[in-house]
Symmetry: C2
Subunit: 585 residues, 2 copies
Amino acid sequence: LDYQHVQVPFEITLWIMLASLAKIGFHLYNKLPSVVPESCLLIFVGLIMGGIIYGLNDRSPPVMDSDIFFLYLLPPIVLDAGYFMPSRPFFENIGTILLYAVVGTIWNVFGIGFSLYGICQVKAFQLQDVSLLHNLLFGSLIAAVDPVAVLAVFEEIHVNEKLHILVFGESLLNDAVTVVLYKLFRSFCEMPTIKSVDVFAGVGQFFVVGLGGILVGLSFGFTAAFTTRFTKDIRVIEPLFVFLYSYLSYLTAEMFHLSGIVAIISCAMGMKRYVEANISLKSHTTVKYFMKMWSSVSDTLIFIFLGVSTIGENHEWNWPYICFTVIFCLIWRALGVLVLTFFVNRFHVNTITSKDQFIIAYGGLRGAICFSLVFLLPDFHRKKLFIAATTVVILFTVFIQGMTIRPLVDLLAVKRKRESAPTVGEQIHIRFLDHLLAGIEDISGHWGQYYWKDKLEYFNSKYLQKILLREYDQPKSSIVLLYEKLERKHAIELAQAGQLGHGPAHPSFLCSAFLCSSSDRTVITDQKLEDTPNPDVLDNMQEILARNLYRIRRTGPAYNRHTLPGDSEPTEQAKEILILRHKSL
Amino acid sequence: LDYQHVQVPFEITLWIMLASLAKIGFHLYNKLPSVVPESCLLIFVGLIMGGIIYGLNDRSPPVMDSDIFFLYLLPPIVLDAGYFMPSRPFFENIGTILLYAVVGTIWNVFGIGFSLYGICQVKAFQLQDVSLLHNLLFGSLIAAVDPVAVLAVFEEIHVNEKLHILVFGESLLNDAVTVVLYKLFRSFCEMPTIKSVDVFAGVGQFFVVGLGGILVGLSFGFTAAFTTRFTKDIRVIEPLFVFLYSYLSYLTAEMFHLSGIVAIISCAMGMKRYVEANISLKSHTTVKYFMKMWSSVSDTLIFIFLGVSTIGENHEWNWPYICFTVIFCLIWRALGVLVLTFFVNRFHVNTITSKDQFIIAYGGLRGAICFSLVFLLPDFHRKKLFIAATTVVILFTVFIQGMTIRPLVDLLAVKRKRESAPTVGEQIHIRFLDHLLAGIEDISGHWGQYYWKDKLEYFNSKYLQKILLREYDQPKSSIVLLYEKLERKHAIELAQAGQLGHGPAHPSFLCSAFLCSSSDRTVITDQKLEDTPNPDVLDNMQEILARNLYRIRRTGPAYNRHTLPGDSEPTEQAKEILILRHKSL
């Protein structure tokens, strides 16, 4: 037996296996995940594992290594989050998200820090030796909402898209603030005296860390898109580049002490559109699937490790400090959300309701980032107290808040995510309004959201697409794409039912698919179809649509505010239509 | 700047990136890969990289770590090889492959070892201090054909399937022999005296190492299949299990000093069938794609590292020893192939031609396995000579043989792989013959290949499938599956051409697809179809086929030698046909 030789990969594989099997186990009993969030169950498994290790070895089980967490476990989750980020709601609410993430986090850090310092002054609690700076340092690591924990809980409760993006976006973007404040206070702790220059440098760092992260991320993202231009002959390594470049962006940002989370998110959001156009469909499936798989495993491992690391002798128990930490975390977050939302609502038509505010405040879960940061603290005599307080806050938020948030959402009747995709009609409407608003903003000279979006789109189609895409083509309208997809799906369904080519079996399928919404279409059954008044008319419509869409699909002349209709060679199109009409006669 | 912190993942990512970019680079110039095999180009890139590192640092560049090679780079390639192994030709030629792999490798080891020992006795060469045992040890590591190198070259030259599986199968299965002989000679080198008991123990080890590997692999494979029974609700981690279990089988085998390569191949071949039936289509695409991607990257890294490691001061040059090593490697392999094939051909009707024999002998490429093994040698004063000789043999085989094998295959007009898939007619024929031969063997009491295959198939459908598959169902006949696939493809083509649902546009498509071969079908154009004599008859046939196949597809009553036709509820089927006929009237 030569265990030494294979130990490292063997143990890693076994941990991943344990995590995956635990996941399967929960899902075998359908009722369990609907009551208790998976994150709680996983922490519970971790606690048991930790207990077993502690019982067998009679010493504290190994603590989750902060390096492993930040270098290997966190990036897949953030990459997944960034890649599948719904960009429209994100950019629509970017102002609010940034306000919560920057001002809200600072508010929480100082609120928690100062009030805990106040508690430390009470002589009965025996905490006078914890300085203000240490309290602020503790505040900086405990204040930040954790994206992993938030994602794990919010993915299961299906609140409406805006609420989700507000909480989740905040949890992602507050990384820049947390990194700066945490490093600032940590270096202050080690400095003999603090000059006002240092404080100003700290404020300046916010911008460097945040904007630097975006810059690093976008440059790697565009390089990735550019690289996939040349992978046509070697499709099999395409998915690799998505992972390699985004991971490099994270590592590079971390190397320069910028925000790695912000970098990897910008990278993923920047590359997504171009990479998807360049790579093959199978590569795309692999990218999506593997990203989900990887982040799911990372997520599982993080929660299990969190459980394992909780067991042990790293803790110093002090009732008042720990209780007040939990209370202050709740109070300051609630206050912050109330105050900030008050300002946000004054400038927006589409306000955040008080129910939503409650869920935002209540959804401020803490997780493994706090936990890793507290272990990274420099050694000082109260570190174990901080570890204990952090553990309690994490367990409290994940267990108590995580388990009660679903019943609360039900109870308050918080607006849920709509189950169905937007209909084609809605899509047309939204796009029309976008163009209209961009035009209005342009005319009125107001540089609003729509104006910038339109300019960006113009810049994208004028320059970026030409550089980054292999086959630069007028982009197909999303409606035409949808039509194609429906037609393909319909064809496969027909083939599976063995009814292909037996005359027009469902004469109104196509046009109903096109005229009605995509979600409606799936519930149309044969019975319904027979109610349709005049099959001949529908048949005719379908014929016309199919013939003409054939041409549309081939050229994809999407409407563009910056080109005139004359640009798209009308003579050729007319010729094509003539030929088709001639054929059909 | 905090490089220390991210160094390990950063450098790994950069190496993978370099490898992938090099791969893209070659494929940008289409002419290059058609002349020079990719493996040569990659070694060349590695040589340049090594030269740069050597020039900059003025010391030998880092040598490929044997642990990294055996634990991280080799498993993905072998897993890929095992998973995509064409099982029919492999099992049809298993006897020949084992003969080459076991007897052939032993022959080469002792041949090369003894004749190099003879060379060492020549006083002029100054090699008298190299003992017989050391020569045999060297022979054991240099004799084995390398699967990575063979795969890299043979995948590009497209020789016929049998020839390919003979060379490739040998290169995979000789691992067991190499492991045993290498470890045996290494322990002999350290023993003061060798007893005859030790030699017998060595012979016994062959079976333990080989069969143990198969056992470990199969048990992990079946566990993997069993696990995927329960992943229905959590599709996203399905692909993970394929990788985790096969990697665990490799590590476990290595841990017990069994053959890891044999284990991972058995695991992959054992699980493939059941896992594919259990997991979703997208999971399957991800598994296949990721396996290919991973093995491709590993392969690239191995060749680049091989190049990098060649540069440096690890070499001791001795012209006669090195030249004779190359010559003996060639001669003994050629002799071995000739002698073994003579025996093989006496017992087979389908003989191995002399051209094939030449390619088998010439295709005996050495690669990174030899290289890693030579660095794992215990330190002794001639180790650097062995390293130099191994490097030269690898470079000679990969560059000279690898680059000339394609022109030689052309020159000799070696039978190539057929480009097209077997037609449906052929498939029916093959299956019919299989059943016939199994029956004949059964009656005549001859326990041949077909008899065992049939018994295995019976055992599989009687027990294994019931345990390992989620939805145990009569397996669909491959012809019905093909028909379904063609129909789906046809439907998508129709949808893309915008001709879905416009009456029977191509009346004879379906039946021609069914009656003709699958490969023929793709070249049938509209022009050809119009030549078909009577569209009405064809239309009718198609109607009948489609209606009846509908039923077939739903139950999939595959022919089975062990069940009577009466088993499959004929009344229900008859009723269904009646209803369908009634409808169509």
